[in-house]
Amino acid sequence: MVSLKINGKSHTVDASPEMPLLWVLRDLLGMNGTKFGCGVALCGACTVHVDGIPRRACVMPVGAAVGHAITTIEAIGATPAGKKVQQAWLDLEVIQCGYCQSGQIMAAAALLAKIPAPTDTDIDQAMSGNICRCGTYPRIREAIKHAAQTPSAHKRGA
């Protein structure tokens, strides 16, 4: 049995510590927002946050996530950076098929949480591991900049 903290909630699953975190999320917990893409950490579709750091859930043994705070696409909107990124994705209509976008949004949210006003180089470095077959890269870049310029909710007094 493995105990995990995902999106602020505790879960105990019957999994071996070697099982990839992605399998636990999708197959054992039914959290399907995080996508299976390549399975070998090459595409970024499975990106989740572990203690705020973007990680590829498809190659991360679930045992390595024990004791750490896991955040998935289902709850990223509860973070200030995640909320801004989701709104920017809507405002700029970033998405086409959307299959990679959970990972894109997780990567972008982690970037903005770390670097509130990223340069193009920062964006390149943070996003280069997330592949989009639809080719939405120009809009992703634009949306990250758009999100960076969005004031946080608490600053607006909302």
Binding site: N32, Q96, C97
Partner: protein
């Protein structure tokens, strides 16, 4: 024999999949209750594409797969234009598999591809929307005992222009469901279009920014088993030997299948849609 309501008859027709189902291009006129309609009461479903509940919920049934090409926005625009509802007022639902109700007329089955969606469904979906709107207006006119021509539909509400009386589609759903489905309905003059030809926000985006959108890979059916192929690392490679003892020892593994020579399909390259777009045969819609 107990008196059978029209809706009960229609439900029976939909449930058995025969009788009243006259094919995709006639379903609007034939008055087939949407196969997706799960309840027979408190729902107005004049065809397989539209469902309006007495709670005011307007559901549009999507027969074409959304693969990023935008059908979950363009198809609703066609329906909503003639139904006279805003895109912000509708909910979308995947159509169940049903070639009789939802076949792509160019292919003869329920298929998305070859850039056909808007081309082939442009008129059928407008007609489906116009049929529903005509019936809702007729229901309102009957309620007020006025000429339907003196009523107009807009944003999910029918208004009697001379008196300003208003009824929402939800309030009219029950009455509209009891009316005969008109065989002919007028389509709007393109100069009156409010949605078609305009730029619309995609309706599939909100579910795709929070992980709630369902892709083929996310579907779980009762008793479903999941298979994976161990492909040869070289072209034309054949299995020389197989020791599946370790694989079988993994919890949850039920069977290891070693394909025989007949298992190979020759001369027909696999053409697949994108991941998670089950049912699509062509990579582009």
């Amino acid at each position: 024999m107990a008196r059978v309501s029209r809706r009960q008859i229609l439900t029976a027709g939909a449930a058995t999949g025969g009788g009243l189902l006259l094919g995709w291009h006639l379903d609007a006129q034939a008055g087939v209750l949407g196969a997706a309609a799960k309840t027979t009461r408190s729902v107005f479903a004049p065809n397989a594409f539209i469902r309006i509940g007495t709670d005011g919920r307007i559901t549009l049934i999507m027969c074409q797969v959304e693969m990023g090409q935008g059908t979950y926005t363009s198809m609703p625009m066609l329906l909503a234009e003639e139904l006279e509802v805003g895109l912000d007022q509708v909910r979308l639902e995947h159509a169940p598999p049903n070639d009789k109700l939802y076949a792509n007329p160019l292919f003869g089955d329920q298929e998305t591809g070859a850039s056909t969606s808007v081309r082939v469904f442009y008129e059928p979906l407008r007609r489906a929307g116009a049929t529903a709107r005509t019936m809702l207006v007729a229901a309102a006119a009957a309620t007020w005992n006025v000429d339907p021509a003196s009523c107009r539909a807009q944003k999910g509400v029918v208004t009697h222009s001379p008196t300003g009386r208003r009824l929402t589609y939800g309030a009219l759903a029950d009455k509209a469901a009891r009316l005969p489905v008109p065989a002919q309905v007028p389509l709007k003059d393109p100069k009156d279009f409010k949605l078609i030809g305009t730029s619309a926000k995609r309706l599939d985006t909100p579910a795709k920014v929070n992980g709630s959108a369902q892709y083929g890979i996310d579907v779980r059916l009762p008793g479903m088993k999941i298979a994976t192929v161990a492909a040869s690392p070289v072209v034309g490679g054949k299995v020389a030997s197989l020791d599946d003892s370790k694989a079988k020892a993994i919890k949850g593994v039920r069977q290891i299948v070693r394909p025989g020579r007949r298992g190979r399909r020759r001369g027909r390259p696999h053409v697949g849609g994108q991941t998670g777009t089950g049912g699509a045969r062509h990579p582009l819609g």
